[in-house]
């Protein structure tokens, strides 16, 4: 039967593109009042380099909401080494941390040395030398950003991660859909699937190598798995009715999904190796949008068994299912924080559909976003930010908000709708 075919189909629709045709730009929409003041001095020797590494680090730290980087125009000294840093200068600028660095050309690319200085403690916190090929300078900048972020905050940086998202251009039957993967800052985007039929619900495998998603390319929803680098893909479900909402188990061996082959949509778990299915829910209501707890022992999902959509939790291997959300009459599409202590979800408030966080223990729910047409929250692997889809005018755009709601930014696309973001796991284990 074709639904259990294990052959990796070569995809005619596949269009690996090296042209960054759908890069997203960043607009910071809300800065945190608790952000740490930091200076990232332009790196010595960076004139003529294809990327401004210090600027990329500045932008990363700014976007994180944890830092408030000083404008370059205010830097009347521009040291490039720890020994040249005048602490009094930077103290007078109210800077607590300073990054200085220098870049040199090598046979194979660039060698970048940087120092992270603690201005109030008057000491060097960290020093490192990084080598990078000419076309991986952005990667080097993200790596350095990760090191600086972790050294100061004790939280692992997530700047070297990626996001997947779906684009749509046109209306009605003349819509073109695309599945893209880009760096976490929206740059370096690559289209990995093109279709004239809808694509939705991309989900990263825990090793960051594959995406599961739903494609209507055969006139109905089917779940596919695609290798991000090679583009090889396989259709893994094609049941009658809805084949939707795939999410990988933390061990990468199973997919939870919503199937309506037996009537109303229910939650199932598929063993990817042999495509065997286990039914998790059996209700006469809608059960969809499953998400695994980080320990892999529980699934939360959206169900309208009480009337409107609410979040329920099922302990795998038991018959226990408990309702999790009680605030308001619409809570859907939950995702766990990496520590398992919070759920990020879409909550309908008086204002509209907003990204919210609910503490699992207390049940307390707080809205995080300012926007009112939000969908598809996806949590950064370090738990500090949530990326989601929202509306700006008549266009779908991606937006992100910090887990505490204090800072946010938007990633508008040049044209068309952007939606259904999925933040990758850490990629450099």
């Amino acid at each position: 039967m074709h639904t259990i075919s294990k052959v990796w189909l070569f995809c005619l629709l596949l269009a690996m593109s090296t042209v960054a045709s759908a890069n997203l730009t960043i607009e910071i929409t809300r800065g945190s009042d608790q952000a740490l003041p930091i200076g990232v001095v332009p790196f010595e020797g960076s004139a003529g380099m294809p990327e401004d590494v210090a600027q990329i680090i500045h932008d990363n730290l700014d976007r994180s909401g944890f830092f408030d980087p000083l404008d370059r125009s205010s830097m009347f000294e521009q040291p490039s080494k720890a020994d040249d840093v005048q602490y009094s200068t930077w103290r007078s600028l109210d800077v607590r941390y300073l990054v200085v660095g220098r870049a040199e050309r090598t046979d194979s690319g660039y060698r970048i040395q940087y120092d992270l200085m603690d201005i109030s403690g008057q000491r060097r916190m960290m020093s490192e030398t990084v080598t990078a090929s000419e076309n991986d300078l952005r990667g080097a900048a993200h790596y350095i950003s990760d090191q600086i972020f972790e050294e100061i905050t004790d939280i692992r940086g997530a700047f070297s991660t990626r996001i997947a998202y779906v684009t749509a251009q046109g209306v009605g039957d003349n819509t073109d859909y695309g599945l893209y993967v880009a760096d976490a800052d929206g740059r370096n985007s690559q289209q990995i699937l093109t279709s004239s039929e809808p694509i939705l619900s991309p989900a990263w495998s825990p090793d960051g190598g594959k995406l599961a998603y739903v494609s209507f390319e055969n006139g109905r929803p089917e779940i596919y798995i695609q290798e991000v680098n090679s583009g090889n893909r396989a259709r893994i479900t094609s049941f009658e009715g809805i084949n939707g909402a795939p999410v990988w188990s933390p061990d990468g061996r199973r997919l939870a999904m919503s199937l309506s082959k037996d009537g109303q949509p229910d939650i199932y778990i598929m063993e990817i190796a042999d495509r065997s299915l286990t039914r998790v829910t059996d209700s006469s209501s809608i059960d969809t949008e499953p998400a695994w707890s980080p320990d892999g022992r529980r699934l939360v999902f959206t169900s309208d068994r009480s009337g409107g959509p609410q979040i329920y939790q099922h302990r795998l291997g038991s018959s226990e299912t408990e309702r999790m959300t009680f605030t308001g009459n619409y809570n859907a599409r939950a995702r766990f924080s990496p520590d398992g202590e919070n759920l990020f979800l879409i909550h309908r408030s008086d204002r509209g559909f907003q990204v919210a966080r609910q503490e699992i223990d207390s049940g307390r729910l707080v809205t995080l976003s300012d926007s009112t047409s939000d969908e598809s929250p996806s949590v950064a692997p370090n738990g500090t930010m949530v990326i989601f889809a929202t509306q700006q005018g008549n266009n779908g755009v991606l937006s992100a908000v910090s887990a505490d709601g204090r800072s946010s930014f938007r990633l508008p696309a040049a044209q068309g709708d952007v939606r259904d973001p999925a933040w990758s796991p850490f990629l450099n284990e």
């Binding site: 109905r220 809805i242 809608i286 879409i346």
Partner: protein
């Protein structure tokens, strides 16, 4: 009240005869009863779907005209729903009935019911709501005697809006079930 095969072929033969009989008056006899719906259907895009209802509810000589129409696919192929509802509104029952008559009369015809929602709410939950709408239409057709084997359901959720935009005018055009033959 599913028709027996004999009765069905009689019905088809009868409707063919009726159409053949009328065709001497010109090829537009179906247009008289349904063709004007085209314009209404098109103009309905700027308002809510109520424009399509008046004509049908005023069609009191339904049996005769229905039989004429049974040999061809009804022109009105879209019905609209209220927010968060899957109930077929009274004003659209006659549309669904027309499709039921067509499908009963043409047992080899198959229809795919496409369920759609507006953009509000989450995508996969909307996928389920779209399916619920299409299933409601399939159940209605089934009660009207259409065989389940002639029908299938595909939900597009909010993925294929007919109208762009975040206004109630756009939303009302997007909450729909479309008959695809």
């Amino acid at each position: 009240m599913q028709l027996k095969p004999l009765a069905r072929s009689l019905a088809v033969a009868l409707s063919i005869a009726v159409i053949a009989g009328c065709s001497s008056t010109g090829g537009t006899q179906d247009g008289d009863s349904y063709g004007s719906q085209d314009g209404r259907d098109g103009s309905a895009s700027s308002t809510s779907g109520t424009g399509t209802s008046g004509q049908y509810s005023s069609t009191t000589s339904g049996a005769d005209r229905g039989q004429q129409a049974d040999s061809r696919i009804p022109d009105v192929k879209t019905i609209y729903f209220d927010y968060d509802r899957d109930t077929i509104k009274g004003e659209y029952e006659s549309v669904v009935m027309a499709h039921a008559r067509y499908l009963r009369s043409n047992p080899n015809a198959n229809v795919v019911l496409h369920g759609h929602t507006d953009e509000r709410g989450t995508r996969e939950y909307n996928m389920a709501l779209g399916e619920r709408r299409a299933n409601a239409v399939a159940r209605f057709l089934n009660i009207q005697g259409v065989s389940s084997s002639q029908m299938s359901v595909v939900s597009y959720g909010e993925e294929r809006p007919a109208e762009r935009g975040s206004s109630e005018a756009a939303y009302s055009q997007n909450r729909r079930v479309v008959f695809n033959y």
